[in-house]
Symmetry: C2
DNA sequence: TTGAAAGCGCTAACAT
DNA sequence: ATGTTAGCGCTTTCAA
């Protein structure tokens, strides 16, 4: 509970000097700084963020807005952002849109405007122009993750490229009847993620002279259950695909489970590739295109802090973050490819795919 | 950017009256309140939380501390707390301990002390006495979720009872060779969760006159992969169990997958029961003891806000929150029980268990 | 019920 | 490099 004036008294300097010494703003002699630091430690002094924020206009707190926290991707981004912010002495105030459907307007009309945060990280939340306008008008920088927004620097993966990578992996193994499990774009949150992945798939197929058969497309909602249902449907069709590209690992895992339920072996009878490198992907032996959401969260946080520090230069507007094809045991040449023998020994229907 | 004085001028009253009208503290005539509200709306006035916080000592912000955000249980608690806080106009500032191992001391020495939060919710984080002391000494109420802490009101499930419920469910079906997959307690975070569940299992077994065979216990780390490995091991043993109680759904799901890998059918050859009612439990047909983490988060949030409002009474110190046995298709009488026939038609090894 | 005015604890000119 | 001082924008006595 000691205040800055007690520290000043104990150190034998003015409160202004204490402020300078502890914040690093303004010049203080090494000796004085030392005295001040000693005194502060002695008194367990901790700056009051409300007082400091009121006086300086800076809160050392970043608002993070995301559609929900309870999906693997978002949790990872959150952990990454949290870690990066804390390293630089910043707090993170969380705004999850899933709390209630009508929360969104109050968020932008009240919560984000009460000067609690210095800047906003929008994770896969497509801000409306007026929302961006309000924030920027208030001098609050915004950094986005997950898709381009007008006037907002953004980190994102190239979703077309991701789908192309995954599809080309399957094509390269000799597959041509490749099914796609994806979603249609949800307004307000997901930008063009689903449709971009759709396009990447189509482009890769076209480039390879393969047919993107509409009968091999199924919609699902990015969950295990959704992927399971979609794959079950695909696999029951008269002429089933030899491979499935699912636009998320959770759906891909659902597809692998559906294959097993249908008595099919992965990858002998069906190859499956996903996107994310979900924590369960390794366990299921799932080949996937890894994105690195924790790194994305870290980079977004660093980016926004740099934007708050006038000295640092901004690295251009929209930054692409890397992805990487990770091949495991869920993909192999199709059984009738004849190029090489199936690379495993187990002959029966259940088993190897789920062994880590 | 309009301040309280603009609002006061437009409404033709003093800033004090504006403050009273908008905050609800102190009495204002209906007419005046109306004028003030109009003026505030007209000017898009939003109170500055730093100024308000400095003047009043209240920030309308709650700190939430948890070991990590990226596990289903914690994500749910977080969503629940977030929703409840937002409903009452509060913000939520998140402190995840997983960011870095040495973060913890700085959290309690700096971050939580800078008057950014009015109170702290500790989710499955066992606070040391001096940490609690600091917080309470600063007048910051603390509410815990997940286990008793001295001097801190806590919401928790009865872990002994949870394990007993699950074990008795299996015993009631006729199982006696019941394996346990759990962990040993981690210091600093998990209280007695693992050991309490161990005890509940033992008590139930003893009450039923069954033997809690040490050879049927395996440690695992609450993950799918951990449960899978533990179950694989159990099922390879000379005399394998007819049922497994896993102390979390993720481990239980791992166990179900291991059973399938071993060519065993669930529940015909093996019954599995978990704890949590994880989002995937329904998909896998997993019988489980549901706890309701979202509700836990909500209740904890409401509890702490009530503690901040002097009028409301506190509902006693440690509150037990309800759990509920949910039976699905992963549990059935053992094959040799002879009581009733196996309740399904599929004769082969893979299949029904993963069908939602 | 309302207004006047004194802070809340710190930062940032401006001096020196 | 350091001290003096005027706010930052609001809340809350205290008086009326």
């Amino acid at each position: 509970m000691a205040g800055i004036s007690e520290v000043a008294r104990l150190a034998g300097v003015s409160t202004a000097t204490v402020s300078r010494a502890l914040s690093g703003n303004g010049s203080v002699s090494a000796l004085t700084r030392d005295k001040v630091e000693r005194a502060a430690a002695e008194l367990d002094y901790v700056v009051s963020s409300t007082a400091s924020g009121l006086a300086s206009g800076r809160t050392r707190n970043i608002g993070v807005v995301m559609p929900f926290v309870n999906r693997w991707y978002f949790g990872e981004v959150l952990e990454g952002a949290q870690a990066a912010l804390r390293r630089r002495g910043y707090d993170l105030t969380l705004y999850s849109l899933s709390s209630s459907p009508d929360i969104r307007s109050s968020l932008f009309d009240d919560f984000l405007l009460r000067k609690r945060v210095d800047a906003v990280l929008a994770i896969c939340v497509k801000l409306a122009p007026h929302e961006i306008g309000t924030l920027l008008g208030l001098g609050k920088p915004v950094v986005g993750v997950g898709g381009p927004m007008d006037g907002v620097p953004t980190l994102s993966i190239d979703d077309v490229e991701v789908a192309r990578l995954a599809t080309e992996h399957l094509l390269g193994l000799g597959h041509t009847r490749i099914a796609l499990i994806s979603d249609t774009d949800e307004p307000e949150t997901n930008f063009h993620i689903a449709s971009d992945r759709f396009r990447g798939y189509q482009l890769a197929m076209a480039d390879a002279g393969a047919r993107a058969d509409p009968a091999l497309f199924r919609r699902a909602d990015f969950t295990v259950a959704g992927g399971h249902a979609a794959a079950r449907d695909l696999l029951a069709a008269p002429s089933r695909p030899t491979a499935i590209f699912a636009a998320s690992d959770e759906m891909a895992i659902g597809a692998m489970l559906a294959a097993r339920d249908a008595g099919l072996s992965v990858p002998r009878d069906l190859s499956v590739v996903g996107v994310d490198d979900h924590e369960l992907a390794g366990f299921f032996g799932l080949s996937t295109v890894a994105q690195f959401p924790r790194r994305q969260g870290e980079r977004a946080a660093e980016r926004i802090l740099d934007g708050l520090t006038p000295g640092r230069t901004d690295g251009g507007l929209d930054v692409r973050v890397p992805v990487q094809l990770v091949t495991r045991t869920s993909t192999a040449p199709p059984a009738d490819a004849g190029v090489r023998a199936a690379p495993h020994g187990s002959g029966s229907s259940s088993g190897s795919a789920a062994t880590p």
